[in-house]
Subunit: 199 residues, 2 copies
């Protein structure tokens, strides 16, 4: 039978250390209707990173010009480097029939939800602040001061969890992944973007 | 962790012969947060049917009085007998924390969606009219004239499939069941009715 489908933009967010990246990677691996948007960055490529695959590597001047053109769906400065998601990249992939998943921090997520109100927005929560602290220390990527700053940000971010359409507690990564996958499976069946044609 | 949840009303509909009853039964069997609403009927109990369990068996006078009181979420006359879903029944079960699933014909479903706009509405479609005809003849419960009338009704009903929030094609009963289960799993995670409290 024939089915008419519209692709969708999916935003996955949550506080630092909640496990967004793992769930995002599993989604892209398991659901072949999904793709990601290649971000731009002003930082230098690391060994093995390829332009147009891992990032679009651009100069600060190019970045500033894109910013002035309002070309970003969201953008952020991290450790003195600039990062951004180009509207044109996302639009091109949606137009080609892909659904696009973004793994972004809560500040970026709120920008995307404002610009793109019919996106599917999912916020991941830790089972407790204690567990989030444990995971951040376990990653071994930040010093204690940076970790405590991340935890303090997490409180404000978690207070805004109800701004998203869906909340998923990442108590167990497999269970959380299954919940996110169910949300995406359900959203594909919404009549706002799905029309089966019975012949 | 603590989670605040609101229960929901779920409407499963579709044309006669599409397989609503099978999926409805599987949901009730597998998801223990779901329950059904006992309907009222003016028909006589069949052997083994129990009042208050299978139906509330009432007289035509009682039925007419309930109708006059606007007590029904939906009601219908079938083969000279009257059936109805009481608002009070559904409200009591929702208030007790159950989510309530209704398996109803498209006319009843449209009434429920009008009275209860925040219900979750799922419409099941056959993969083709040919397959629906095959299933209706296979059930062996109607004569050919009745079957052709059901098929003719089905065309109008399927044209209104986009009035529902979700459409699910019942091409394979296990796959269709999994899709409906994913919709319900996702709807439980909506921030309009779900709030995890991180401590």
């Amino acid at each position: 039978m024939r089915e008419e489908r519209k692709s969708m933009l999916i935003v996955i967010s949550g506080p630092s250390g909640v496990g967004k990246g793992t769930i995002y990677s599993q989604l892209l691996k398991n659901d072949h209707s999904l793709t990601f948007s290649v971000s731009v960055t002003t930082r230098a490529p690391r060994l093995g990173e390829r332009d147009g695959v891992d990032y679009f590597f651009i100069t600060q001047e190019e970045y500033d010009r894109l910013l002035a053109q309002d070309a970003f769906l969201e953008h952020a400065a991290v450790h003195g480097n600039c990062y951004g998601t180009l509207k044109s990249q996302v639009e091109a992939k949606l137009a080609a029939g892909w659904s696009v998943v973004l793994d972004i921090d809560p500040q970026g997520a709120r920008n995307v939800m404002n610009i793109w109100p019919d996106c599917v927005s999912i916020f991941l929560l830790p089972p407790s602040y204690e567990e989030l602290r444990r995971r951040l220390y376990g990653r071994n990527t930040d010093n204690p001061e940076a970790i405590e700053r991340r935890l303090s940000n997490a409180r404000g971010e978690i207070e805004q969890a109800s701004l998203y359409q869906y909340n998923v507690v990442n108590d167990d990564v497999e269970r959380a992944y299954q919940r996110v996958a169910a949300i995406i499976a359900a959203e594909k069946l919404r009549t706002t973007r799905y029309k089966p044609v019975v012949e």
